[in-house]
Symmetry: C2
Subunit: 347 residues, 2 copies
DNA sequence: CTGCTCGTTGAAAGCGCTTTCGCTCACCGC
DNA sequence: GCGGTGAGCGAAAGCGCTTTCAACGAGCAG
């Protein structure tokens, strides 16, 4: 049997109330008994039972993060920021990872169980009506990261604006025909980046050409956010212009770095030099992007994670406050794939 | 106030004992009341309080996984296997990620708290004397993955043998001088792979040359398992032979794929063609390896995760059983960096 | 010396659940 | 008609902790 508060109360000749006070840093305990209790507790290897604690207090001091982990880098960075934001607070972070987007609901269910945690961080989890219903029924504080809903605090990156910046960068470099590779239809980032693409075209007074746009139809469980999907999408795009090379896009905006890696490979296999024959811009700035010299839009992942926990803590303090929405602007990072200078890898 | 078992007992005109029985699938409940209770519970949105449950039962039905550096594909795959191994069991997986190797102890402390979980999966966590002490003091079941200790169940890959296979592959390809790039000194995989390197040299009747071996001295918090560490290590290696090109190694075994990526970049920057001027073999077979055509040693990550949970469950059933140790043999995957055929990316 | 205050402690009432024990009430065979 | 059986259920005792309330005694002013 594990040692309980009673055992150490007996040994230290105090009541369990006092032991509890010692461990909760209650001010009204004499220095004497405090030390005695600590000594006994240490000797007996006491450790409070978290279940009993969360029952007696009405809180767990835990924050759950539900994350679909496909390209782990983005999530890890966000989680890193979240961990940091929790430092110095009484809260700990618990992670419910899901390998696929569809597995998210199961993990969400677990995280939502009463007594599991006080707050919920949803990263890249689209707030479907069903999920919104479940989230509203819970008493936990909820913060959305990388997606938004008016009912909850949220932190997002302005994907649309980023898409526009990406395409404008390509237009400025003189490209007449700019392709676009997207994940499977219906994702929030995908839709937004597509809109940004159109914005840039419109601002430049150009007509959109559907032939220049390819949506992924592979790896649906990962929403097409894969190297392979990017690889195939690029092949499809190039195939479309196999018989009319003059029309071929000379630049491509790929909606996610991970897809861009596959796209680059397909381009190389097709004998295209990047840059030169083809310029490529990605989105996300994952760790391998710097290494591969990919021009992309950088998302402030660590900052997003950190801010997320700050919002969470604020909401835990004041559940009634109106939801707040923060939108970060992504930053264009020019590297080799659009003629930038090569840099030594740092990671 | 959240709805408790009492509320639904009132509403359904039964005792709380019956409600509890319904939710625990106790056989001695009439079909009638079972349905009634379920209906009421659903209507009121009841959900058991996990803390109270774990207090009353003596178990949480949770398994904690403590993993350093989830940036790495390796951990994700292991976790995927672990999730799979838990499917159909009453256990859920909880993840305590740590960005650095040193952060592991803090996470371990949290996971070890009484009432957090029933079992512990330690992935790539070296069993230091201090950790062993803590792990032996806990009543949780413990399984080590990617490291071993005689006191606990463990699952490892034979790194030494893998290192030998890697180097023998290079020797067979006719290389006289084979370099070795290692993480920071003192890691279990690093030491083992170094031993395998020596094994292969000895078997071929060659003298080891310390000039051919470089240990990382960068990114200590990640034990040098980074692109950058590999990049710099390769530079150091090449620098050593800048004034005597004839002695330069024509092949390099890099102790981790992630380091190999950096090493490849350094090689390219030095104007070396791979393969041709330099052959490279990595270790791990992470997702980007196939994409970059890196010859490497594949570890059965998913299988390891799955087996880990199986051992965990077995141990939970029978805490007294003697520890069992499983060693997987890594499999050589020949790709472009040692002259293998190019393959289309699948991920 | 009396009456207070204040720092320190203990008793006890929960927190929400599981589970043992035992009761009640058919239903059975004899 | 009677004891025996077993299905279905409730009462109540925990599980290990927090927190309120009250008690106690020492120290202080009057």
């Amino acid at each position: 049997m594990a040692v309980t508060i009673y055992d150490i109360a007996d040994e230290a000749h105090v009541s369990i109330a006092t032991v509890s006070r010692v461990f909760n840093e209650h001010p009204r305990v004499s220095e004497d008994t405090r030390r005695r209790v600590f000594r006994v507790a240490e000797r007996m290897g006491y450790e409070p039972h978290t279940g009993a604690q969360s029952l007696a207090r009405k809180g767990t001091n835990l924050v759950s993060a539900v994350v679909p982990v496909m390209t782990s880098f983005f999530f890890m960075e966000v989680l890193r920021g979240a961990q940091g934001g929790l430092d110095g607070s009484p809260y700990d972070l618990l992670v419910y990872p899901s390998r696929t987007f569809s597995g998210v609901d199961a993990q969400l269910g677990r995280a939502l169980q009463r007594g599991r945690s006080d707050g919920l961080l949803l990263v890249s989890v689209r707030p479907t009506p069903d999920r919104v219903r479940r989230l509203q029924a819970t008493s936990q504080a909820v913060v959305l990261v990388d997606d938004a809903h008016e009912a909850f605090d949220s932190i997002t990156v302005d994907s649309r604006w980023g898409g526009r910046v990406a395409v404008e960068h390509l237009i400025e470099r003189g490209h007449e025909r700019v392709g676009l590779l997207l994940p499977v239809p219906g994702t929030t980032p995908g839709d937004e980046r597509l809109a940004g693409y159109h914005d840039a075209l419109a601002a430049a007074g150009r007509e959109p050409d559907p032939d220049l746009v390819v949506s992924a139809d592979w790896h649906h469980d990962l929403q097409g956010f894969t190297r392979f999907a990017g690889y195939r999408a690029m092949q499809v795009l190039l195939d479309r212009f196999a018989d009319r090379p003059a029309q071929r896009p000379t630049a491509v905006f790929v909606a996610a770095d991970i897809m861009a890696f596959g796209a680059l490979r397909a381009a190389h296999e097709a004998g295209l030099r990047v840059p030169g024959d083809l310029d490529v811009v990605g989105f996300d700035d994952v760790d391998a992007s710097a290494y591969l010299g990919l021009t992309t839009l950088h998302q402030p992942m660590v900052e997003m994670g950190q801010l997320a926990t700050e919002k969470l803590r604020r909401r835990l303090d004041d559940p009634g406050a109106p939801p707040s929405h923060t939108v970060f602007a992504p930053r264009l990072v020019v590297r080799e794939t659009t003629g930038g200078a090569a840099t030594a890898p740092s990671a």
